[in-house]
Symmetry: C2
Subunit: 409 residues, 2 copies
């Protein structure tokens, strides 16, 4: 008799964003004709830029002729695209070789799948709050115990609270952990760590032979030149860190799907030779993945060209202007607000420590603005709320206006 | 200290196709300027068809305007595409609802990932020979013991030999197994089973509450109207089978990436309610996947339109003509040949039971033709060799000619 993977039953609730979708649908059904302003999911809204579109069309055109048609490509991505990613890192003075770059269909699959090359007995540490995929993928893999309703924590996971006391960047764990997820710039808090802060984790990881899984999906949103865009800007990180990134937010590829992971050849863990972890991820990708779409990869190559990078800077500026509008509007209203400066997320404190989901309902009903409850990212997110800068400027302005006019404080 | 998933060390060798790639590169390096005729990997070679290209360009164009731009879509695929897949099945008199259809980036990821919603203690049965992903994904997940060099078998897996004695379709296992992988039309043997044959497995699965993972990626290549194109043509299969399919071969999407899995709501396994397995796969996809590319899905919708289906029939006919050329050429030479009639693979017996890899080298060196050693698909493939019908007609003709003229028999 076939049996299911019972770890799925440990999962506390539906994945956060489908749950938000469900509640929103319900609201719309009950309030037909009422426009909802979506600052919830970090979903891009602006059209793709000309040079990137040209690359995508070219990708399609190449498939129309027998001379240029291509079928299966390398599971790791096109050689030229991998080289362009190497070039990108060289701008941060990070030296990679293209064998360390694995092109994928996005940061979410990589963030979810990366744990599978590590043993079940590894102890996982996550920032709290955090992007739910880090915890959920480890729950499903069996790396945790049960979920505890009262604390909203899973047994066996080491949570690193990110709160006002530590300005949303945690100290390294006191106990020994093996896999550490760090998202920087942070989703959802919008905090962006300094080199010194990241270095504390690199030092910890090297000392304890732990691995940092570094989600840099929002690195392009960093304006402050002093802040690191890659963990490999910190000495020794190539011995202990895997970096994940994506074109979703800065190029508008949320629906187009392209990302990458860096697995350095120097990375070693217990009992492995140099290069073995890199080879494991390669084997994982060759077995479970068949490469990102060749059309999309052509678009990606255009995105990484000089012209594409310029276009991306403009797109980032557009969304960061939204972040400014949200930030300043909320500050005007007297909210305590974090993030939104080097990251496209604004992290606000709910009024009078209101429950995050209660504030979600209040905001939606009173102002028609859709956000994301902080507690959906982990218990330390309780009493906080995330507003996303991804939206049309006019909608963002309207949303802030609606909050100003309609929210009963 | 972080530890790797040591199951990776059980894997007997590099994944088959990269290994072939490596040997081919070596040959080319040592024999510069010599053209190699590739009938190895089942990789499509013919350009995409006009209506499908139109769909893909439309997919890109939609992203160029603010009114039609879309970001994240549903992890399960676009509603309209799921409906088109439901319609496709209705042509085989199979009734599905769209909640049972999960669009993906291809059959390989689905074939690899599907095991993850089942417990580690399930006993897996595979056809021998078989597409390597079925076994490798279960080895990596920890569902097997060690690989035994002598037998080339993994402990803990139930192998169902497919050989000349059973005309390449196995009897149901004598012992109880939980997950059964069936590929039909079969890769690599090219055998295509009848309804009665498939029914023996459906009956077994229902009796033993086992789950059949049915890989129908080559269903479009079935010409014989009596043969089932979907396992759900067999009564009761919706209680025990998951079906995987793809647009790779019949539409030319090997590099474009689009597939789907059917997880029926009626499917139950030990201790689950109806619908739970369907929900598990949904949760898996929502956690580890972010939907197939929206550009590619537009292409998929065009592929499933009346015009697109017509174009696909032509493409299939093109490759099946190649299969005929290979089949007949080899029969002329006195080879014992299977498959290639309702499937795009020809499965030939090596001369004098020559070792499959030895024949690989012999064929490459003497004739410049690249094929796939049968033993790469499992020990019962030893003494057999796969030639793929995916190639330009002229190249296939040239390859068969070269075998006729240059192979030292």
């Amino acid at each position: 008799m076939a049996k299911i993977n019972t770890n799925y039953r440990k999962l506390a609730a539906g994945y956060l964003f489908p749950e938000i979708g469900r509640r929103t649908e319900e609201f719309i059904t009950n309030n037909p004709g009422t426009p909802v302003m979506r600052l919830g999911i970090g979903n891009t809204t602006e059209p793709l830029t000309p040079h990137v579109l040209e690359g995508l069309h070219k990708g399609v055109d190449l498939l129309s002729k027998v001379e240029t048609y291509s079928g299966y490509g390398d599971e790791q991505g096109m050689a030229q695209l991998r080289e362009l990613i190497v070039d990108l890192y060289s701008k941060y003075s990070v030296t990679l070789n293209s064998q360390e770059v694995f092109v994928s269909d996005g940061a979410k699959p990589d963030a979810g799948n990366i744990q599978s090359i590590f043993g079940i007995d590894n102890v996982v540490a996550v920032q709290d709050p955090a992007y739910p995929v880090y915890v959920d993928s480890n729950v499903i893999a069996g790396r945790t115990g049960e979920h505890q309703k009262e604390s909203d924590l899973y047994d066996g996971i080491v949570y690193m609270p990110c709160n006002e006391d530590n300005h949303f960047f945690p100290a390294v764990p006191e106990q020994k952990v093996d896999l550490i997820y760090i998202c920087n710039p942070n989703n959802p808090t919008g905090y962006t760590a300094s080199k010194e802060e990241i270095k504390t984790f690199v030092d910890y990881a090297r000392e304890n032979k732990a691995v940092i899984i570094y989600d840099a999906a929002y690195a392009s949103f960093i304006a402050d030149l002093e802040l690191p865009k890659s963990i490999y800007e910190i000495d020794g990180a190539d011995e202990c860190a895997i970096e994940i990134n994506s074109l979703s937010k800065n190029v508008g590829f949320t629906g187009v799907r392209l990302g990458w992971a860096i697995v350095p050849q120097k990375l070693v863990v217990e009992g492995t030779d140099a290069g073995e972890v890199n080879k494991l991820w390669n084997r994982r990708q060759c077995t479970f993945f068949n490469g990102a779409s060749n059309i999309v990869q052509q678009g990606g190559m255009h995105a990484f060209s000089a012209k594409g990078l310029e276009e991306s800077v403009e797109m980032v500026a557009y969304y960061m202007n939204n972040a400014k509008i949200i930030r300043e509007g909320l500050i005007d209203l007297g909210f305590t607000v974090y993030g939104g400066v080097n990251a496209p997320y604004v992290w606000l404190k709910t009024p009078n420590n209101m429950d995050s989901w209660k504030f979600f309902d209040k905001l939606l009903i009173e102002t028609r603005v859709l956000g994301t409850p902080g507690s959906g990212f982990g218990p330390s997110g309780q009493g906080f709320f995330r507003l996303s800068a991804f939206g049309h400027k006019e909608d963002v302005e309207r949303a802030v206006e609606s909050i100003k006019n309609n929210l009963k404080l």
